[in-house]
Structure formats: C-alpha cells, structure tokens
Symmetry: C2
Subunit: 499 residues, 2 copies
C-alpha cells in the first residue's frame, strides 16, 4: 500500500523528468537565442517541483512503511533505488543546495569566458568556491553513507561505486599503459594511412549516420538524430534524442560520434518498458551507460568487421569524394584511420589507448582535491607533471587545453571522470563474454547483422536496468567481477605490434 503510493509519486516525478528532458533537448537543438531566459526559468521550476515531490515528508513515511511490505524482486529493487535517491536528496540542507546551484551556474559562466582566454587567474577563485561547497556537501553525504568524501560524490554517478575498486583497477591499467602507449603510438605511426579529404556534404553525412544507426538497431519510431554544438543522448526511453555535430571537412569523426551516442540510445530503448516510470527502470549508472556507448563505438564500430559493412556505405554516401581518393576510402585505410594512436592534450579528442590516461590524471587530482589533500592553486603544476609522466606531453602554461579544458569541475561535477574508463573496461569485458557466447559475431557484424549482439545485450544488460547493484550486474552479465583483463587484451590485440 505504501509501496504503491511511492510508485505513484515516482511515476508523477517521471512525467516531470520527461518534460525536463525534452525542453533540455529543445534548448540544445531547436531553441532560438531569445528563448533562453524563459527556458532557464522553466527548467528551474521543474527541478524545484521535482525536489519538493521527492522529498515531501510523506515520502519518508511511505519508505519506512514499504520496507515492512513483502515485495517481488523488481519492486524491492525499486524501493532500494527510491531510498537511495531520497537519501541523497534529503541529506543536504536547502541553503547548501541553493549555494551549490548558484556557484555551479556562476562557475559555468566564468569557465566559458576564461577558458578561451587561457585565463587561469580568472577561473581559479570560482573553482575554489565550487570546491569548498562540494567538500561541504561531500562531508555531509559521507557521514551518512559511511564512505569517504570522494566516494560520496562518486556515488552520485556510480551508485555503490568504491574508491578502492577504482584505484585498484586504475593502478593495474596504468602499469600496463605507460610502456604500452609508446609502442602502440609507434606502431600506429608506421601504418598511419591517409586522411580523407572533404568537403563532405552535411546532408549526406546525416543520411549515412541515420542509415548506420538503423543498421545497428536504433529504432526511429522511438527516437531521433539531430545536430547540436555538443553531442549528447537525451530524451526518454520511448523517445530517445541523440545529437551530433557535423564538420564538412571530416565525416569520419562525426560518424563515430553518432555511433557512440547510438550505443547510449540503444541502452535507453532497451530498458524494460514496464519500469520506465520508476527509478529501478533507469540505466544502472554512468559507467554502465558509457559501457554501452563504448561497446557500440570502440568494440564494434571501429572494428575491421564493422568497416567491412560500413566502408561501401561510406563510399555510396560520398561518391565523388570516394572516386577522387579510392585509396583513402579503402577498407585498409579506414581501419587505420579509425585506430590511430597519438598522445595529445585533449581528452575528448583522445584515442582509445590514451583516453584512460586523461581519466586517471583527472581522477587522482579530484580525489586529492575533494579529500583536502591538495588545493586549487596546486592544480596546474600537478596537471603538467602527470601529463608529462603519463603521455610525455608538455602542457605548461596551456590552461585552455590543460586543466581548464573540461566543463566538469567548473560545474562541480567531481566524481564523474572515473566512469568513462570504468565504462571502457565494462565494454571490453562484456564484449569478450559476448564473443564467447557468439563466436561468429565478427562475421555477423561484417554482414551487417546485429541481432545477435542486440539480443545478448538486451537479455544481459538493457532489460536488467537497475534491478541489481552495479557490480552484481557485471558478474551476472559477463560471468566475472569487473577487471582490466579484457580491456588490456583488447588494446593489445587491436593496437599492439606483432613484435
């Protein structure tokens, strides 16, 4: 009875989340500039109403009473997820919630202006203010959750995630990568391939993207592809909105971006439709979400097998460009271009091999910042030193493409970064398990047949939503606890030289 009331309340909240998701998508894709002020007001009001509905006194009472009720497994897991959300939402004093929101909003604005100007001195004080508030919030959450301060923030993106797990996995991966990266980069330089030269018509790019989305199983009756400045996956499970950014000079990167977002989208589209209005029906965590985008992009779409399917479609999409540069559009060259390795300053442009270094660097820094073992003033020096150690790159004096390159800290999102690389590890481990079950999967992919992959993921991951805790899901889906093993094996196979 109390559980039923809770479920009803969270269904109401899901309707607000629907409106919120759609007007955020609209803001990024459709809204004219003049609509911004009213839109910010609408989003703020939806958030306030949502907060009031989810933290109302009766919710606490319903949770207590529902804990005494006998519930079937999905309902029990739903209650667990409701409780988890409710605890995080109610622990922080209203005054701190407001101060945090204002500091994040201000930080975002200062970062947007200071980053292009390479102006660390302008950004640092804002970051200090944000960090102080995040530390305060983390302390309150940590005390109640019985975790470290950093873990309390990590838990907001990765429910139940532990720093011990992250640090153990990252230490092992780091040990592998430091000697591996120079080898992989040298090997890549030796088979660099030739660049594809544009211009590539944007409408043709869009059609190619939609065709490949359709091939890999995106359901256009329940979603769309549009353009936005920053690609993302939004909307709701029955209406998933993904976006991309087109560049006339380079179709290849945007296309992989589309397939990456398609991986996110297929997870959403595959969530159990009976539970989409409840917390248990949501994607398991940020690292799980990233595992599905990276499985689609890295494990599948950058593979030679996929390019056997995709290369002819690329040539058909740009017939004049392909005729003018047959070598560039060859399968061999596309495979080389799509698996290039080269250490660089920028995380979002990094290849699969060097990307984890960007994440490990940020994670180690943000752990120390949140735990109070380091201050903002020390950030640039620490950044430069780690970039030198990990990737052999000199970033001194370059804040713009150094420690100011990401939006995350500017908006107070401490604890998010590790989920990218946890996702890459999950993707590799899941795909290795899938390949054990479907040994012919590469042949199927080369033929453009993705049903086997989809059925496997649907059964093991998508349909499970948040029924299990993250690591229990990992064991159930892949047959083993999360480790670096499959990811390292994947990197060795794809990027290691034969020597």
């Amino acid at each position: 009875m109390s559980y039923a009331r809770l479920a009803e309340r969270f269904e109401e909240i899901s309707h607000l989340d629907h409106a919120h998701a759609m007007i955020e998508w609209d803001q990024a894709t459709m809204m004219p500039a003049g609509g911004g002020e009213a839109r910010a007001g609408a989003i703020g009001a939806l958030e306030e109403i949502r907060h009031a509905l989810s933290t109302a006194p009766e919710v606490e009472a319903w949770i207590q009473a529902a804990s005494e009720e006998t519930l079937e497994p999905w309902a029990a897991a739903n209650l667990r997820e409701i409780q988890r959300e409710h605890r995080r939402n109610t622990l922080l004093p209203t005054k701190l919630v407001g101060a945090r929101a204002r500091a994040r909003s201000r930080g975002h604005g200062i970062w947007q202006a200071a980053r292009p100007a390479n102006d660390w001195a302008a950004f640092a004080p804002a970051l200090e203010e944000i960090l102080a508030l995040e530390r305060e919030a983390a302390s309150i959450l940590a005390e109640s959750l019985g975790t470290s301060r950093y873990e309390a923030l990590l838990d907001g993106y990765e429910a139940g995630g532990t720093l011990a797990q992250v640090e153990a996995l990252f230490a092992e991966l780091r040990e592998f990568l430091i000697p591996f990266i120079p080898r992989a980069a040298a090997h890549s330089r030796a088979r660099w391939g030739v660049d594809l030269e544009g211009p590539f018509d944007v409408e043709a790019q869009r059609q190619l993207g939609e065709a490949l989305m359709r091939d890999v199983g995106f359901d256009f009756a329940r979603g769309r592809l549009d353009a936005s400045a920053h690609p993302f996956c939004g909307g709701v499970p029955s209406d998933v909105r993904i976006t991309t950014r087109y560049d006339e000079a380079d179709f290849a990167s945007a296309l992989m971006g589309v397939l990456h977002e398609t991986g996110h989208a297929k997870y959403e589209q595959g969530l159990p439709s009976d539970w989409t209005a409840q917390p248990v029906g949501r994607a398991r965590s940020m690292s799980w979400h990233e595992s599905q985008s990276l499985l689609q992009e890295m494990q599948i779409s950058r593979s030679r097998a996929f390019l056997v399917h995709a290369a002819p479609r690329m040539r058909e999409a740009f017939p004049a460009r392909a005729a003018a540069q047959p070598q560039a559009f060859s399968l061999e060259n596309l495979a080389q271009v799509y698996t290039r390795v080269q250490p660089s300053k920028i995380r979002v442009d990094a290849d699969e091999v060097t990307y984890p270094c960007h994440v490990m660097l940020r994670t180690s820094i943000e752990v120390d910042l949140v735990e109070g073992r380091m201050e903002v003033a020390q950030l640039p020096e620490r950044w430069d030193a780690e970039m030198q150690t990990l990737l052999g790159i000199d970033t001194r004096g370059d804040y713009k493409d150094g420690c100011m390159q990401d939006i995350h800290w500017a908006v107070g999102a401490f604890g998010y970064f590790p989920t990218y690389t946890l996702g890459a590890m999950r993707a590799a481990q899941l795909f290795a398990a899938l390949r054990r079950d479907l040994p012919e999967v590469d042949d199927a992919i080369a033929r453009g047949e993705f049903d086997g992959v989809d059925s496997w993921l649907r059964e093991r991951v998508w349909s499970q939503a948040s029924l299990l805790e993250g690591e229990a899901l990992m064991e159930a889906a892949s047959g083993a606890p999360l480790s670096c093993e499959a990811f390292i094996a994947h990197l060795e196979t794809r990027y290691g030289d034969a020597k």
Copy 2:
C-alpha cells in the same frame, strides 16, 4: 504582500505552461510515434500540477487579501485576471472535470475514426455524452457568473463576451452577406484568373515563407517556423513556434497560412515582456488573437499592395515555374487568385466572404445545443438546412464535410466558433483606424515597409495585453465599439463589383 505571493505563484505556473507549450509543439513537429504514450502522461501531469497550484486554498485567501491592497493599474488588472481564472478553475467539481477530460479524449478518438468513414451513427453517441457534460459544466459556471449557459462557455475563450453582442453583430452581418455572397461570387468568377501550376519545391517554399515572415517583422531570434499536420501558433512570447503544412502542388495557400500564423506570432512577440509570466500579460482573448492573424493575412497580405511587394519574391523563389507561366505569376493574376470567392462546404478552406457563414451556422447551432433547445439527433438536418440558406450548398448525407468536419465539438470546445468572426470584424475595424492614422499605409506595404503598421499595433494592441477588458480595448485601440461596419466596408471594397 498577498498580491506579491499571488504573482509569485502565477509565475511558477507560467514556467509549467512554458514546458507544456514546448512539449506540445514538439509532439506536433518532432516527436516520433513511439513517444506518444509517455508524452500524454507528461502533459497530463503538468496539467494536474498546474491545476493544483492554481486552485490551492491559499490562492483564494491571497486573492481576498490582495483585493484590500492598493495596486497600480497593471497589478490591479492582473489581480482581476487571476481572479477570473481562479473562479473558472475552482467552480467545477473535480469529478466533473475528470469526466469532461475523459469524454473529450474519447470523443477526439471516435471523431478521428468516424469522420473519414462519414459515420455519423458512430459519432453521435459520443457527442451526446460530451454535450451532456458541457451542459452540466455550463450550468454550474452560469449560475456563479450570472450569465446564460452558452455565455459561460463563451467566456472561457472570450473573457466577458456576451451572447447579446454576438447575436446582434451576426444578425447584421448575415443580413449583408446573404445578398452579397452571390454578387461577390459572380464577380469573382468573372475575374477568376489562372491556377499556378507546381510542383513547388518544399525547401524553396520554406525559404520564401521565412523571407516574408522576416519582412513583416517576425523576430527569428524569438521564434521558429516548422512543419506540422495542422498549422498552429505555439510556444511562449520569447520563443514563438509557428507551423505550416507544405503542399508541392500549391505554394500559395501554404504561404497565406504562414502569414496568418505570423500574425498570431507577432501579437505574442509584442506582448509586454515585463508581464509575460502573469495572466494580465497574456493575449486578450481568442477573438483578439484571431484579429491579429486576420489583420496580417486578410487586411494586409491578400491586399494588392502587399502583392506588389511579394510577387517578385514569389517569382524569385520558383524561377523555373515563374518562367514557364508568366501570366499566372503576374501581379494581376495573383491578386485574383488570392481574393477568389466561392461558397464551399469546408470552413477551413473558405474564403473571407463566405467564412462568416460557416461560423454563424455553427454558432447558432451550438447556442441551441448548449441551451437545451436542440438535441444532437437534430444536428444534421439543421446543418443541411442552414447551409442551403446561407451558402446555397447541398450537404445532405455528407457528414464528413458537413457537421463532422470540425474538431471543436468532438473535444467539447463549445463557445469557440464565434471568436473567428469577431476576430475578422476586429481586424477590419483596427485596420480602418490604422489607415486613418497612416493614410499612406498601402504605399508603405507595397515598398515592403511594415514598421508603421507594427508600431501602431504594438502601441494600441500588443503592448496592452489584458490590461483592459476586451471591449474597452476595442474602443481604446480603434476609437469605437466593435461593429460590423468596417468589415462590411472592407468586403464591399475588395469583393463587390463596381455595378
């Protein structure tokens, strides 16, 4: 103090209305079919939360207390509008509100299926159920408002509108139109012109529409044009979303549709920005909204002066089509095509002269239905008889394009129809007043200069929002109470033969 609280509450409500408007626009323009169920849930939830916020017990108390406060004129008018909305929202018992919503939703579905099948027998029982509930609601509202039942419904679209006014104006107009229509139709047949032959590229149509929207003052920094099955004007004043429907065979109709919606949009864009979050900042009423779309479409855009400006742009938009049929694209022919008169069955396709007959027919029928002087079973016979009298058209047996052609009754929107023709009268009277103030207006329009028109309308109408009651605004803006005079003079001038 209480007024300030009320204003704060209605600002919160305006944020919900923003989200509601945007996801309704999205539903009509962007949403894939699979998103419909979740969208309906979200819209329903927003409506419920809005209703709860606007009818909460404290609102009543604040209204009482605010009535004792000294308020400046806009705030006082805002209180009046808040009170008006609050009264309508709280008078009806929750059970009736729910029954009405369900009957309307069911009625919509039945109408959608029964209309194409010309199946009156399937539709009639649904309409009976809807009418019974509307009569019940009208009785409750009428008792409190001190109006007739029909007026109580009319008041929902046309605040303060009276049946006495509608009937007096319509009687006078009818007396003019019955002899005038055959004359105007004969005159039109004598100078019918030639049809413009397509195909007209849809993208070129869109660009032409946007160019003319820009010319007449639509602000694209605060709005968009998109395509939808049924054209409408949605969004919010700082972000107005208008839509059109393209037909490759006929650009001329769609273009006038775009200009019609642009008239609605400019009214919204011209509302006072300080008051957009409050009831007093909204458009005055449905007939006032229609007056602005019809002023743009009928008074301005179908005029010879406007076509002097627009015809060259039409030829540029479709150079091959224009070259192939120079006579069709001539100013003379376009002016003829855009002012054709021909009685027909369908309201939405009707010309300016016969359109009021469609409205008067529906108004007289819905008054009798709501007042209980007539039953649904008598509707087809009454329809056929009036269509014969007013337009000389035989509609017997044709329900699809007869009494089942409109969505309004199917969704319980009794009391809406008269606002179309009240709008046409207001448009003519406002434009006549404008022409007195700006005698050179036709020359300016022919030169593509619309600033004078805009300034006049902005000052007299748009910036006034709902500060005054509808008829007080009419007198203030045009210098006289609403009458048929200007509309009849306009029809005589444009459509009467010289004889």
